[in-house]
Symmetry: C2
Subunit: 451 residues, 2 copies
């Protein structure tokens, strides 16, 4: 395998006891482990055995209204990812931070710090927050309007990138003899004064090992896609089908040119939730065991939140009211996901009950039940066929759902020569084939601090 050969990328998205909303109720699940760092350590050691590119932790700053039925997502990402960095050596660490309810100085610093602690494995999933419950914890009545949030996100990101670059790569002198620790001439106040932020700088940490931690994004609206085309290096997306995946892939990559970017500077990873069995029947049994534990009261609540409309009055065995939903103009939160559900229900003529079941495993991400070979076939098809640069793997239940993927699907992909058998780099940028960016101030492109 030549170093220039295109390779498939695999991120693992861990959430609670797995992505299936009923996973915590399986006999093999430990809901009490979700606040326990060693639970994640074991999972990540499995993922590193599979040579996966990265781990992703989602986040929001509010308690979901469905806590009665649904396991906690996880611990706070900065604290948990830093903890995990110490007991893993290669896997990338992608954490979420919101540009609507955080401050760029803190975010720049925490990702820089994580990048040092992990030896260059940090990435930021840039989100704008999607629910008013978060707004209520930060003195807002409602989330700012959708376009406004993305404007703020763009400025926020600009500030963070300037802060990461505020120390040139060679600013640390550390000369004991002369007593010069750092060269102030190579450390720059950013003096940012914008519409949302005023930040003098510089950062109180040197340029991180990756130069800049990797930028990840997952917006699906028009504005979200423009943002990604301009700024993201890895994109997560929920796609219902291979055909939809191809459309999204072509659409997003074609938007990059006007920002002066090459298509391979951005890796597109559709969500992929595999339910794996040595035989199809075994896989179906595993799916049935999960679906058996679905709570439809919870399903209706979940849909109500997504659609910002009370759905609890609708009959489970009636068709999804797609026309009614399409009329609801004001969806300020999860815009892309809203459309995806309505289209899915329309296309497949689903009842409410069916929509709940269909989205119970992975909330609208592509979900597949099959043997390791069938799953590898499907992944290869998406990857070769122009729908994906890799996948955001969403184990439906844990730890087994991840173990089966690593022990059965990964070897299948390796045998086909499309996925690495050993890590070839040490940083997240190296895993994804993303260049270390030159500083806006200095141009050496060398590591400032070696680990």
């Amino acid at each position: 395998m030549k170093a220039t050969d295109r390779q498939l990328h695999l991120n693992v998205f861990l959430m609670g006891n797995g992505h299936h909303e009923a996973a915590w109720r399986l006999p093999g699940s430990s809901p009490q482990d979700v606040t326990n760092a060693s639970y994640y350590v074991k999972l990540l050691q499995t993922a590193e055995r599979g040579k996966l590119d990265s781990l992703f932790l989602a986040d929001s700053y509010a308690l979901p209204p469905t806590i009665r039925y649904k396991v906690l997502q996880s611990l706070e990402p900065f604290t948990l990812l830093s903890a995990l960095a110490m007991l893993t050596s290669r896997i990338g660490l992608i954490g979420t931070a919101s540009t609507t309810y955080s401050h760029p100085y803190h975010v720049a610093r925490q990702f820089a710090s994580l990048d040092f602690i992990s030896g260059g494995r940090a990435a930021w999933n840039i989100v704008t927050s999607t629910n008013d419950a978060t707004a209520h914890n930060f003195a807002d009545e409602k989330l700012p309007e959708h376009g406004e949030r993305y404007k703020r996100a763009a400025e926020f990101l600009e500030v963070v990138q300037q802060l990461w670059d505020s120390w040139e790569d060679d600013a640390l002198v550390q000369d004991k003899a002369s007593g010069i620790y750092a060269d102030p001439g190579s450390i720059h106040d950013i003096r940012h004064q914008g519409s949302y932020f005023s930040v003098r700088g510089a950062l109180n940490l040197p340029r991180p090992p990756q130069g800049q931690p990797v930028r990840v994004q997952a917006g699906a609206s028009e504005t979200g896609k423009e943002f990604a085309a301009h700024a993201a290096e890895v994109v997560f997306t929920a796609q219902n089908s291979f055909a939809d995946g191809c459309l999204f892939y072509t659409d997003l990559k074609s938007r990059m040119k006007k920002y002066g970017r090459q298509p391979d500077e951005l890796k597109i990873l559709p969500g992929f939730c595999p339910i794996i069995g040595d035989t199809e029947a075994e896989a179906r049994d595993r799916e049935a065991a999960l679906h058996d534990h679905i709570q439809f009261d919870y399903g209706l609540l979940r849909l109500s939140n997504l659609f910002s409309t009370d759905m609890t009055g609708f009959e489970l065995d009636e068709p999804v009211p797609v026309d009614f939903l399409a009329q609801q103009s004001e969806v300020n939160g999860h815009r892309g996901r809203y459309q995806l559900y309505v289209e899915l229900a329309r296309r497949e003529k689903l009842t409410m009950r069916q929509l709940i079941v269909k989205t119970a495993s992975s909330r609208g991400h592509y979900s597949m039940v099959g043997t390791p070979v069938q799953i590898a076939d499907e992944m290869e098809k998406w990857w070769r066929g122009g729908a994906a640069d890799g996948f955001n793997v969403m184990p439906p239940y844990l730890p087994e759902g991840l173990e089966l993927f690593v022990d059965k699907v990964v070897p299948e992909l390796q045998n086909r020569g499309i996925f690495r058998s050993e890590y070839t780099g040490t940083t997240l940028r190296e895993h994804y084939g993303l260049q270390r960016p030159a500083s806006i101030y200095g141009q050496t492109g060398q590591l400032a601090v070696k680990r």
Copy 2:
């Protein structure tokens, strides 16, 4: 030793290559390790060998203007402390967060998360920020006025404590059979609406293992001391002498009664910077090796920052201009430290050069050069004599300064029966003899989640 016997407490305060400002220039120092988590892991493993109560990391959100001469403080505390939690098992982890430039939802969550990750070892050093450079990174011209900052701190803390308590200890049900994960009736929106914050709640994490992470504080002004008397459980303080230590100790403890608190609900730990030798001569040599590396240009800059006055024009061998300094009315930042330096210079009739040397080891904290027995004698004197419940140990250089303390002074204290030979508890509250607080909502006082 009975469990009820009063014991001495030891916190280690790590900073850069040690507290002496020239420590990074010693042959045995590694300035490049300050951004390396494994450097701190080794130090903490030494501290755990010595059965120390806790580690403290200071923090600010701005690059010091003296970076030309002075090693970085450390990494961002939440990320670093979480990393350290994974490779230590008992030592408490005290991190700094500012109430002036952070948000209570984030702070509550990150300390709760650290408390879970560490199994109940988290504590928060509550600061209000002390310099305008921080203000400039958060869109402020200047730091808010001193009294205003403390008002905001009080409200901030109230919100954080309510968030920590927002889940009763028994709110997690996790009943797989019924599908009830948590009991919404035991999870409370805090609905806080105050002068500075409006936070709906609840926190998106259960009540942390300690119920509430420990509250640490280090203000020295009148307002700061009132705040501590009301709210702190551990207090750091800089004291020039045993006599000053006694005055501060009595003063602070006597302020607690009006808040309905017992004196032993708050532990006072004066800073203590030991330069240790097997003989006095050896200790003096170590001090001289450090002092030899002092840079007086840096010293003048440091004093200028502290006094908010340009001191670079003053002659090094002239007396400190104490009257001039006493007249400077507007010291909005480090009020307590300002007074301490002026008094020290007045009492000991110091020149500028002498003041710089005197404060180079520990910036005004008590500093002592001597043998392990002399140092243990002094500590015992402060502890028995009503000046301290323990010490904030500030190794002047690292790693040796800490190793000597752990291997030579700690056994001396243990032999005298005043310091533990084994950890008897697992949480930071247990180490300090502080009770796990009952929730404002529930009263069970039991651990919600066992680790």
